[in-house]
């Protein structure tokens, strides 16, 4: 069981690396990190501290990991690739588990690279504005931001499994996180239970102090688990 899981994960990792769109998502995210942190650090509304600048850029970067998550699953449903996958690995539990592991590895790498490059860009951009830069260790909230980026992409992963298509999963996930969530946040305190708001506590403090980073993480994971188990139940029952 463990060996077949390891083999399936190796296959999923190779699958992602052979998908030009996935590579574009990775490098697009890193490029966006440079552009956005540079713009924020150079603008008067941006923070004056590299870590704060990078954290302001996270809402833009999440589009990248969400795209990665959607592509990892959604491309199975094009060109009959899913049939090939299931002929290679007939176990309906091993396939999603291996896919999630491979996605998390890629997303974590992407998030860490984007945040690191963002920190560097912010530092350079702030230096050109002669803002004194305080150097200290890696604060926990940059780590939290990396975790958030990887996990919010799992939401796209789960929705793609549910919707079985790249474009509709992208539209739904991006609208939920980027359009619906800020709009609702303006009118109701319950918006804090939306996946991105709750998960956002991993790198931002909660002003209202209702949720902690740990409970926020649980809320985000709850969303993922509910959506993914719906998708998994359908996947196991349905003809491929």
């Amino acid at each position: 069981m463990i060996r077949s899981c390891a083999r399936a994960t190796a296959a999923e990792l190779a699958k992602l690396s052979g998908l030009p769109a996935a590579l574009a998502a990775v490098f697009g995210t890193i490029g966006t990190a440079v552009a956005i942190t540079g713009a924020l650090a150079a603008s008067p509304v941006g923070a004056n501290e590299p870590v704060a600048v990078v954290l302001q850029a996270v809402p833009y970067l999440q589009a990248g990991t969400i795209t990665l998550g959607v592509l990892a699953v959604g491309t199975e449903y094009a060109d009959g690739q899913l049939h090939t996958t299931l002929r290679c690995v007939p176990d309906r539990l091993v396939v999603p588990a291996a896919k999630a592991l491979a996605y998390l590895a890629w997303a974590a790498g992407t998030a860490v690279a984007a945040l690191a490059v963002g920190l560097l860009t912010a530092r350079i951009a702030l230096a050109t504005r002669d803002v004194p830069v305080v150097t200290d260790g890696l604060p926990w909230n940059v780590v939290g931001a990396a975790a958030y980026l990887a996990l919010i992409g799992l939401l796209g992963f789960a929705l793609a499994a549910l919707l079985r298509a790249v474009v509709s999963a992208l539209v739904v996930t991006l609208s939920l996180v980027l359009v619906v969530s800020p709009v609702l946040d303006a009118v109701t305190p319950h918006a804090r239970y939306l996946p991105d708001r709750a998960g956002g506590l991993l790198y931002l403090p909660d002003q209202a102090q209702v949720l902690t980073p740990a409970t926020g993480l649980l809320v985000l994971l709850g969303w993922v688990v509910v959506l993914a188990s719906g998708a998994l139940a359908a996947f196991r029952r349905r003809d491929a």
């Binding site: 603008s43 009959g80 991006l174 359009v179 609702l184 009118v187």
Partner: protein
């Protein structure tokens, strides 16, 4: 074959795509649902005597802050009208693309593109005519007598929101002609349809950013919701966005005419 026939063929082709149905549902139900939640939130804040709990207190703002979700629907409509042509049939049946069929049936490429634009405009216009009045009525009904006196310009802002959707859908259509693939335009345009878009960020760097199509267009309806200073006047903004749209469509036509199918 007349242009009317071409439009009729395009409407049939686009309207029967499942993605179109989903996009129309998003355009119609999305703003209504968000308006509903917004209005309930506003009413609760007003009744509890703490209007500072919500970002605004007027029912009209509850509607206009929901416009971005309709924009997402408009983007998808514009993208699928073109993107659907380039989606290969599954490789299992030879990987044929509908564009080949379309262009052998209607070799006049300009007519094909124009018919697509007309189709998208019609679909979005119908959606806007239903959604915006319905949302305004809904918000007014929910907030009811607790509402502060209505600010002026609700009608012109409503028209502005509808025009914004139309032009956004056409921009999405034009961009998809360039990319021949729906994923990139959807990511870029959906991310940028939010009220805190990349363009807003750019507006802090250069005053020229207000001439970007989305920021210029948002001034038609956003009012105080727009999170940056010195936005263009609504009419100017609308004209700027329309100019962008026309330019992108012209460029898309040129590309579409010259390129091998």
């Amino acid at each position: 074959m007349t242009f009317f026939d071409t439009v009729a063929a395009e409407i049939r082709k686009t309207a029967t795509l499942p993605a179109t149905a989903v996009a129309l549902a998003v355009t119609v139900l999305g703003p209504v649902a968000i308006t509903l939640i917004n209005a309930v939130g506003v009413r609760a804040a007003l009744r509890s005597g703490r209007p500072e709990l919500t970002a605004y207190t007027s029912p009209a703002e509850a509607v206009f802050s929901a416009v971005p979700i309709g924009t997402v629907g408009a983007v998808v409509l514009g993208v699928v009208a073109v993107g659907g042509e380039y989606t290969a049939n599954s490789a299992r049946i030879g990987g044929g693309r509908q564009i080949t069929t379309t262009l052998t049936a209607i070799p006049n490429r300009l007519a094909v593109l124009a018919a697509k634009a007309v189709t998208v405009v019609l679909l979005v216009a119908v959606a806007a005519l239903v959604v915006i009045p319905a949302s305004l009525a809904l918000a007014g009904g929910i907030v009811g007598t607790d509402a502060p006196p209505a600010p002026g310009g609700v009608l012109s802002r409503s028209v502005g929101a509808g025009i914004y959707w139309l032009l956004t859908a056409l921009i999405a259509l034009a961009v998809t002609v360039f990319t021949r693939n729906g994923i990139v335009p959807i990511i870029v345009l959906v991310v940028n349809s939010t009220l805190v878009s990349v363009s807003v960020l750019l507006s802090h760097l250069t005053p020229l950013a207000r001439f970007l199509p989305d920021l210029a267009g948002m001034s038609m309806f956003a009012g105080d919701l727009l999170a940056f200073d010195d936005a263009l006047a609504p009419v100017t903004g609308g004209l700027v966005m329309a100019t962008w749209t026309a330019a992108l469509l012209a460029l898309a036509s040129a590309v579409f005419l010259r390129r091998d199918a």
